[in-house]
């Protein structure tokens, strides 16, 4: 059984085959969750399930093979993310207490080392970028989308995506230099 979402797997998924759906989910769900988490979704796992529920009911509309399916998946994910961010802006969601995230606690050296590599650290670095540059870099790096696919997901032109990508990399290089100095 092919573990990668190829065109054959996509055709099987369009026929409703459970194994094909499982392959698609196992391959794309971590990336979707990473994208949603890096962009600050409140509940990335739940939002990921909603994205795939919507995608699986629209599989018959996918064109362009596996790349087309990837574009559809992240288009839905981006739309759900925007809705989630707007919902958070209107009503701050209550978050349960997590001792590791409490800044009043004194982290150990080992936990601090792990935090540098964690998603929270990445999200903290990415938060210094403008949102549109952050979206382009995340979709290019995490989702492994081309410039044209990112343009389709964000509803922009390819030239605009390239411009945002270049500015985002320059800003991220400055952020990386600052992070290296501060650490």
């Amino acid at each position: 059984m092919d573990a990668r979402p190829t065109d054959a797997v996509l055709r099987a998924a369009q026929l409703g085959q459970a194994w094909a759906l499982r392959v698609l989910y196992d391959d794309l769900a971590p990336k979707v969750r990473g994208y949603l988490r890096a962009r600050g979704a409140a509940e990335p796992e739940d939002l990921t399930s909603e994205v795939f529920l919507a995608v699986f009911t629209r599989l018959d509309t996918v064109t362009g093979g596996a790349p087309g399916l990837r574009t559809l998946v992240f288009s839905v994910a981006h739309a759900r993310l925007v809705d989630d961010l707007r919902r958070q802006a209107r009503r701050p969601a209550p978050a349960e207490y997590v001792p590791d995230r409490d800044p009043r606690t004194e982290p150990s050296s080992e936990a601090e080392a792990l935090a540098r590599l964690s998603g929270d650290r990445v999200r903290e670095l990415l938060r210094r970028l403008p949102p549109n540059q952050r979206d382009v870099l995340l979709l290019r790096v995490v989702s492994d989308l081309s410039v044209e696919q990112v343009a389709a997901v964000l509803g922009r032109s390819a030239g605009s995506v390239k411009q945002l990508q270049r500015r985002g990399l320059l800003a991220l290089r400055t952020v990386a230099a600052d992070a290296r100095v501060t650490t």
């Binding site: 409703g16 969750r33 699986f56 670095l125 870099l137 995490v142 230099a177």
Partner: protein
């Protein structure tokens, strides 16, 4: 910080950017490449545990039930035939109840009665328009219908079209009664001139004022009722009797001119009797041969003169004279 910042980093063009995003580590961009790798690693890992509905799809395939949007007002969709049926049943019940009570308008009553009798063993009475009862002594009883074809030469008790004696006759009687209450009697010279007036409910050309209807003996509906005909016959019988008595009185002490009420009654009565008087011209002429002082007709020669019988009951004595020319002309010869 600024001293540690690498100001000697090479410019970042699109080609270098594509290489960095593809996962390579170009020289001079190591820190940026490490940060991009950290971002990419943050998105790796096992797939999250799917939600319950999604887990069902992943296990059974797409035909497994997915949460479908609820149907819109399913109960309302089921109930609308019941509501329509209840409304129709209620309407039919009201209609049949009204028909059984004979309270529907006549056309609808006939339709409902016919339908019920055709479809069920029950009998629902069909309403008929009753002829209006008219008092025998009222002047409106003389209503006839010249527009429907009746002329003055027709017999007084015969209608030209028997079918007109129903609703149209009743309508004419009603308007006559209303007009009698509102308007005084008009002079016969104006009403008998034949100028058509605006009609409210009758046929074109039929006189509408009460005086005109009275003078011509017609009603606006263009029909003459049976009760009117009976009243005419009763009037004529009484007039014959009273005329005999009046003529006897006139031979004695009748004044040269009557009162104002006598004159009005005379005007009304003369219009009614013009046609009938004309039929008696030959007899009057026969009488004139024996009495030159007598005119063609007594009332034409002296309209102001009337007997005392009209003061009390308004009967037409002159009409009685016309009906019995033998005694009247002979008696009037002395007074003229």
């Amino acid at each position: 910080v600024s001293a540690t910042h690498d100001r000697a980093d090479p410019p970042l063009d699109d080609r270098v950017g594509d290489r960095l995003l593809a996962g390579s580590r170009p020289a001079g961009y190591e820190s940026l490449a490490d940060l991009l790798a950290l971002i990419e690693d943050a998105a790796q890992g096992p797939a999250p545990v799917p939600a319950r509905q999604l887990a069902g799809i992943l296990e059974l395939g797409l035909p497994c039930p997915v949460a479908a949007p609820p149907a819109v007002f399913p109960r309302a969709r089921r109930r609308w035939p019941l509501r329509v049926g209840a409304g129709v049943a209620a309407s039919l019940a009201v209609l049949l109840s009204a028909a059984a009570a004979n309270a529907l308008p006549a056309p609808m009553q006939r339709v409902v009665s016919g339908a019920v009798e055709a479809l069920t063993p029950f009998h629902v009475p069909a309403r008929e328009v009753p002829a209006r009862e008219v008092p025998a002594r009222e002047p409106t009883a003389r209503a006839t219908a010249p527009a429907a074809g009746r002329t003055a030469a027709d017999p007084p008790g015969q209608a030209p079209d028997a079918t007109d004696a129903g609703q149209a006759g009743a309508l004419g009687v009603r308007q006559l009664e209303r007009g009698d209450l509102l308007r005084p009697p008009a002079p016969p010279a104006e009403t008998t001139a034949g100028a058509p007036q605006r009609l409210t409910g009758g046929a074109a050309g039929a006189p509408s004022t009460p005086a005109a209807q009275q003078s011509s003996g017609t009603g606006p509906g263009g029909a003459r009722t049976d009760s009117a005909r009976e009243a005419d016959e009763a009037d004529e019988a009484e007039e014959a009797d009273e005329a005999d008595e009046a003529d006897d009185d006139r031979d004695g002490d009748e004044p040269a001119g009557g009162s104002d009420g006598d004159r009005l009654d005379d005007v009304d009565d003369r219009a009614d009797d013009v046609a009938e008087d004309e039929t008696d011209v030959d007899r009057d002429e026969d009488a004139d041969e024996t009495d030159p002082a007598d005119g063609i007709d007594d009332d034409r020669a002296d309209p102001d003169r009337d007997d005392g019988a009209d003061d009390d009951d308004g009967t037409d004595d002159d009409g009685a004279d016309d009906d019995e020319p033998f005694d009247a002309d002979g008696a009037d010869a002395g007074t003229d």
